[in-house]
Symmetry: C2
Subunit: 108 residues, 2 copies
């Protein structure tokens, strides 16, 4: 884009958009799904269930991390990612208060 206008929007718009954007790729949705289903924190075996190279999965994990959707710790040779349910719930709450006000109105 010639000029990036993203900073001219409100903080809530930006937060919601960042959250949504982080989930805006099937690989990242799939990663979240794997993390949600896993009882223990599986580490990098995510790579094995995705049709992507290890470096690509690592990039997607970084994006989810930046967006606050997951948290991770690097324990030496193995790293450990989990869904950050606190942030997840925060985003859900913003989402709801943002949209679920006038839901029944409809004209076309």
């Amino acid at each position: 884009m010639a000029i990036n206008k993203k900073q001219e929007f409100g903080a809530e718009e930006l937060m919601l958009a960042d959250f949504a954007k982080a989930l805006g790729h099937p690989a990242r949705v799939a990663i979240m799904k794997v993390l949600a289903e896993q009882k223990t924190c599986i580490c990098g075996q995510i790579v094995e269930v995705l049709p992507l190279a290890q470096s690509t999965v690592s990039q997607h994990l970084k994006e989810l991390l930046n967006a606050g959707l997951i948290s991770g710790t690097v324990d030496g040779v193995k790293s450990c990612y989990c869904i950050n349910w606190e942030n997840f719930a925060r985003f859900e709450s913003i989402f709801k208060t943002f949209f679920l006000e006038a839901r029944e109105q409809r004209c076309c």
Copy 2:
């Protein structure tokens, strides 16, 4: 991307990702907000409240339309956009069944 691997993911992953991606820009979140707050179907006055050119807003509207988040009718010189609450609810439901299964588990 050298090779687009998006089609190697499941249908649910793709649906959720498309929905999230459509909301993954503050301009589109702002448009949805305006539409949600409006009692009657305001038409293109969205342009006036956004810090973007008319053609850019038109493009964002098209993307929301393609994603099924809004519906629109062109009545001659004015067009009319509304949130498609049916699809909105469908996406919310998929979202919930996708993630809210194992929410209490946490290891890092």
